[in-house]
């Protein structure tokens, strides 16, 4: 009789847990946000700093905090599941049934947490992919988004600069040969600055950090971004696969709950029958009929 009352209680507990989870999810979704913006500064950053900058921005967001919190909760819930599972195996009778109920409730809570974590992770990955795509689009626009006239213009400017560089030395020699006046202020300052700039360029080229950039990332920035988008897509595909797994786990929990409920009903019927046999009014009366 007592055991048969547990079925509606179990259902009520499960419903309460799921409704609480949904409500808290709705409240949390507002505060768990990450709104990255694609600024010009971000686009101009070298490729290896680009990913770091986005990652750092995410780490500072409420969404990252929420993900960390859920991760911790999942870890704790797993420990609880392990402890309960061992306890349920070792227990007998009503306590065993009670612990199995508790285990199912905890499993359900664990699945809710996993679902929440997947939702947050999916949100993060989708936003990250959107950011990479927007940077790539802006980068490509800057690179090839010029009008034919602009392309022609750049070509002409390059040709002019090449011609100037080619004849620079000869022109200088002719100027000095034809005029006795000293070099202009601009020319002397420019020469000084140029030597300073060359020294700095040499220092930049020799810098270990710069060497590391060249060694680890020899590919073009757009290609690098394309690779990041592909990596994010792969992670999203894994999250989708995990969602399917969680679906199967939920199905299994549901089947376990049904099995447990049916087991309890069977036990109750069995106990009921046994009790009825014990107190059957017919058996004691039989002796009267046999007489």
């Amino acid at each position: 009789m007592i055991a048969s009352h547990k079925i509606p209680i179990l259902t009520a507990v499960l419903l309460a847990i799921s409704s609480v989870a949904v409500a808290s999810e709705a409240v949390n979704s507002k505060s768990q946000a990450w709104n990255p913006s694609v600024t010009e500064k971000l686009i101009k950053l070298p490729q290896n700093y680009l990913k770091k900058s986005i990652d750092r921005d995410f780490q500072r967001s409420p969404l990252a905090n929420a993900l960390d919190d859920v991760k911790q909760e999942v870890k704790l819930k797993l420990q609880t599941l392990g402890d309960l599972s061992i306890a349920a195996e070792q227990a007998d009778g009503n306590l065993r049934t009670e612990l199995r109920h508790q285990l199912l409730v905890e499993k359900r809570q664990y699945l809710n947490l996993i679902k929440q974590r997947q939702k947050l992770k999916k949100e993060y990955l989708e936003k990250r992919r959107r950011v990479y795509k927007r940077i790539m689009a802006k980068l490509l626009y800057q690179k090839i988004g010029k009008t034919p006239k602009q392309v022609d213009q750049v070509k002409k400017q390059k040709a002019a600069y090449t011609r100037f560089q080619r004849t620079f030395g000869a022109v200088d020699m002719k100027i000095f040969a034809t005029t006795m006046a000293p070099q202009s202020r601009y020319a002397s300052k420019y020469a000084k600055n140029l030597s300073a700039a060359s020294a700095l360029l040499k220092a930049i080229a020799a810098h270990p950090e710069n060497k590391r950039i060249v060694e680890t990332n020899p590919i073009d920035k757009a290609d690098y971004l394309r690779r990041l988008v592909a990596d994010t897509d792969a992670e999203l595909a894994l999250v989708q696969q995990e969602q399917e797994i969680v679906g199967y786990m939920a199905k299994l929990v549901s089947l376990n709950a049904t099995a447990l409920a049916e087991g309890i009903v069977e036990d109750a019927n069995k106990t009921g029958t046994e009790t009825a046999e014990q107190v059957s009014p017919i058996t004691p009366a039989l002796k009267y009929f046999i007489q």
Binding site: K41, K44, L45, P46, Y49, S53, R56, K146, T147, K149, Q150, Q153, V154, K156, Q157, A159, A160, Y161, R163, F164, T167, A170, V171, K174, I175, T179, A181, S184, Y186, A187, Y190
Partner: protein
């Protein structure tokens, strides 16, 4: 402490990237103005040969620097404005001093050649009333 160092590095990097292409406005206009003064000096009938020579030399030295400023101005790359287009459409006429020295001609001869007027044609011309 580490966060501060990272922030400093990022700021320095961004500053370096953004200041690298600071625009130098008006370099073409300055060059064109100086070139006009030089051509005016050559064409002006109100000067003696000595005055013309002195003024043209001064202008020429000034124009060399201005032409180099324009040619080295990275802010002009890809800029689609009439002044920029005009300047790079014809190197020989825009960068007059460099082009004339490259061809071993005087600036005025080079300019006449580029505008389609030869010394021979000028010498053969006759003065007549319109």
């Amino acid at each position: 402490m580490r966060k501060w160092t990272q922030a400093l590095a990022a700021t320095a990097l961004v500053a370096a990237v953004t200041t690298a292409d600071a625009a130098h406005a008006g370099s073409i206009e300055n060059m064109e103005r100086e070139r006009a003064i030089l051509l005016e000096t050559y064409l002006s009938p109100d000067m003696t040969a000595k005055e013309r020579h002195a003024k043209a030399n001064l202008s020429k030295r000034q124009l060399i620097d201005l032409e180099r400023i324009v040619l080295r101005d990275k802010s002009l790359v890809g800029r689609d404005t009439p002044a920029v287009s005009r300047a790079f459409d014809n190197y020989d006429l825009s960068f007059l001093v460099h082009a004339s020295l490259e061809k071993d001609l005087t600036i005025f001869d080079h300019w006449l050649q580029q505008t389609g007027v030869s010394k021979q044609a000028v010498m053969n011309a006759t003065r007549r009333r319109r």
